[in-house]
């Protein structure tokens, strides 16, 4: 070991800096730890509203009405709530993102009535994931949140819509004990950010014990209640299909909307094709039609199945006789109209999110149309008339492109006050939300969505009873989300 000679030791000793206290102040350390810790607490109502913006109205309503009961093995040490810090913003965003992915894991990829619990780890490393799920660390992302959805699952069809997380969808056919997902950190922020970055880590076959997530980091467990409620399944969106048939008699087209109820699809064609897709074990077929002969092309979405599937008599011969009969009967019974040209197939089969444009911005007139649909009587105002306190709360780097309000009109007393701003690009979600929440307080609905920011106050005692979770606020949110989602 290299020894420090006398001259240098003397130099180091002469340079030594001595603080005013020689023994330290442990109480100060504790106080500092509490100060930061209390700043990290997440206000529940804010988290709910943010959850609404991140994952849609349905999940927030479920969280609010107690469908999900949250518990954590790390209760907060301190009760005082402080002003949020930048660190808080980052933590909230990360927490909500993983939680949002967990919700999407339920809503988007798995039979909801079979989910018995969800556990999340906000961030962990590849080495820890390898330790828990096996294999080499290089097979895992360097850093990711982990979501474990507990079953048991018995999946016989490619159920549930997977528009938001196609990379982890649909759940494979079979019997499974659990599914583990990785949520990759995303530089994008905003209501729909993070969801396409969900990947399936591993599926535990039936009977396999749950992995020990505590080895990954802090675990937040969420119990899903009630277990097996069929009503929750009935509400799920299942998509629609377009069936193009080429026969000797000519070219025809049929369209069917697929609805789920009482353990199966209510339409015979949807049920038969879903069963055939499960039989083929092909969740994402993208097949071109033959150049000659009779064929039927099934294009569209049925639950978690999405694609362009070609059905020919020869191919159908491989299916079990009962299934073959159901498909033939259901397709023959569909009302069809003749066409002259073969319509294009479904695009973006494997990654539907790639077909969703993310660059367009919404115009203030489109926002006003949404607001006035709810009877709010909003109209444009010059950007220069925006009050200074609102202007001060707008994050730096944004250019205002429009503003609308119903201030001063009778609609305020009748339907509530609304104020919308549009920007040249989408602001970061959490800084915008936190800034306006600090400015306006908890009674206001604050809805940043794409390049639109809308603040809403019911201004009527009855409507404001639930403090920001009133129907008009959520209706605005839902329609704004639809507006920005359908760009």
């Amino acid at each position: 070991m290299t020894e420090i000679d006398a001259h240098i030791a003397e130099l180091l000793e002469s340079a030594r800096l001595t603080p005013r206290d020689a023994e330290g102040d442990w109480a100060d350390v504790i106080e500092r730890s509490q100060r930061r810790q209390s700043g990290l607490r997440i206000p529940v109502r804010g988290a709910l509203l943010a959850a609404a913006l991140l994952i849609g109205l349905g999940a927030a309503a479920q969280a609010k009405t107690g469908v999900f009961s949250f518990s954590t093995d790390h209760p907060p040490l301190h009760d005082s709530t402080r002003r949020p810090s930048t660190h808080l913003t980052v933590r909230m965003r990360r927490t909500i993102r993983v939680t949002g992915a967990a919700y999407s894991g339920i809503i988007g990829t798995l039979p909801r009535n079979q989910v018995s619990g969800i556990s999340t780890v906000n961030m962990t490393t590849a080495a820890r994931m390898a330790q828990v799920f096996g294999g080499e660390a290089s097979r895992y992302p360097d850093r990711a949140g982990v979501v474990l959805v507990e079953g048991p699952f018995s999946i016989s069809l490619y159920l549930q819509g997977c528009k938001r997380i196609p990379t982890a969808c649909p759940a494979p056919i079979g019997r499974w004990a659990w599914f583990a997902y990785a949520v990759l950190p995303s530089p994008r922020t905003g209501p729909r950010a993070g969801l396409p970055t969900v990947r399936t880590l591993r599926a535990g076959p039936a009977g396999q014990p749950l992995p020990d997530l505590s080895l990954l980091g802090r675990v937040t467990a969420q119990t899903y209640i009630p277990r097996g409620d069929p009503r929750s399944v009935a509400r799920q969106h299942q998509g629609q299909i377009t069936i193009v048939s080429q026969r000797r008699s000519g070219l025809t087209i049929s369209r069917v909307k697929c609805k789920w109820g009482q353990g199966g699809y209510t339409e015979r064609a949807c049920q038969a094709i879903a069963e055939y897709a499960a039989f083929l074990r092909e969740p994402r077929p993208d097949e071109p039609h033959p150049s000659r002969g009779s064929w039927t092309r099934v294009s569209g979405v049925i639950g978690g199945w999405r694609g362009n599937l070609i059905v020919t008599p020869a191919r159908l011969a491989d299916a079990p006789p009962a299934l073959r009969g159901r498909i033939s009967g259901a397709l023959a019974a569909l009302p069809a109209r003749p066409i002259t040209r073969i319509p294009p197939p479904l695009k973006c089969v494997a990654r539907p999110d790639l077909c969703v444009p993310h660059t367009a911005v919404v115009d203030i007139r489109q926002v006003i149309a949404v607001l006035n649909h709810h009877g709010l009587d909003a109209h444009t105002i010059p950007v220069s008339e925006i009050p200074a306190q609102y202007r001060a709360a707008i994050p730096k780097g944004l250019t205002l492109t429009g503003a609308a309000t119903n201030a001063g009109l009778p609609a305020v007393a009748r339907r509530g006050y609304v104020f919308s701003l549009t920007f040249d690009h989408a602001p970061e979600f959490m800084p915008t939300y936190v800034a306006f929440r600090n400015l306006l307080g908890p009674d206001w609905g604050i809805f940043p969505d794409a390049n639109v920011l809308t603040v809403f106050h019911p201004f009527t005692p009855e409507a404001g009873k639930h403090r920001g979770h009133n129907n008009t606020g959520f209706a605005i949110l839902r329609d704004l989300d639809r507006l920005t989602g359908e760009r």
Binding site: M1, T2, I4, D5, H7, I8, A9, L11, L12, S14, A15, R16, L17, T18, P19, R20, D21, A22, E23, G24, D25, W26, D28, V29, I30, R32, S33, R35, R36, Q37, H74, S214, G217, R218
Partner: protein
């Protein structure tokens, strides 16, 4: 290796560090932590702040301590990182005023502090952890996330540089 290092190194891997263990390290090693942090920050009070903040952060993050290394080296790593952050952080307004009110005299170029300040950050950290904290090379390697051999060569380079500058052969 210090007594505390041995004690905590012998401890089996655990889920998180206890508050009592962190407090024990703080109370027995405080002077060493502050000496190193102050030298890394080039300011005694900033160094003290870094130690306080570092231990506060360790308390908050104690659940993440896996017991893979010694608790002491884990705490050293946190405090050294806090000191580096404090040194890089822009001075507060109050500090700027203090500087403005202080006599406009720069430190003599041949003082010990000035000589040490000229060393690269990593060499300074190795040297201070070796001399002021009396840590062995293995612990320093764990604190600074380096190979043990690299710690030795870094310390050699730091000492060689100081010797050259003290004898004036560097210029």
């Amino acid at each position: 290796m210090s007594v505390l290092t041995e004690r905590h190194a012998a401890k089996p891997p655990s889920e998180g560090a206890s508050l009592a263990d962190i407090e024990a390290v703080y109370r027995t090693q405080y002077a060493r932590f502050v000496a190193v942090a102050a030298m890394l920050c080039r300011d005694a009070e900033l160094g003290r702040d870094a130690v306080q903040d570092g231990f506060a952060g360790a308390i908050r993050a104690r659940a993440s301590y896996r017991g893979g290394g010694s608790l002491e080296s884990w705490l050293w790593r946190i405090v050294v990182n806090a000191a580096h952050s404090a040194a890089r952080r822009p001075r507060r307004l109050a500090d700027v005023h203090d500087v403005e009110q202080a006599p406009a005299v720069s430190p003599e170029p041949d003082t010990g502090l000035a000589l040490l300040s000229e060393l690269p950050e990593r060499q300074r950290a190795v040297l201070f952890l070796r001399y002021y904290a009396e840590l062995d090379y293995r612990t320093i390697a764990a604190v600074l996330d380096m190979q043990v051999g690299t710690v030795g060569s870094t310390a050699n380079a730091a000492l060689a540089t100081l010797r050259r500058r003290m004898t004036g052969s560097d210029s």
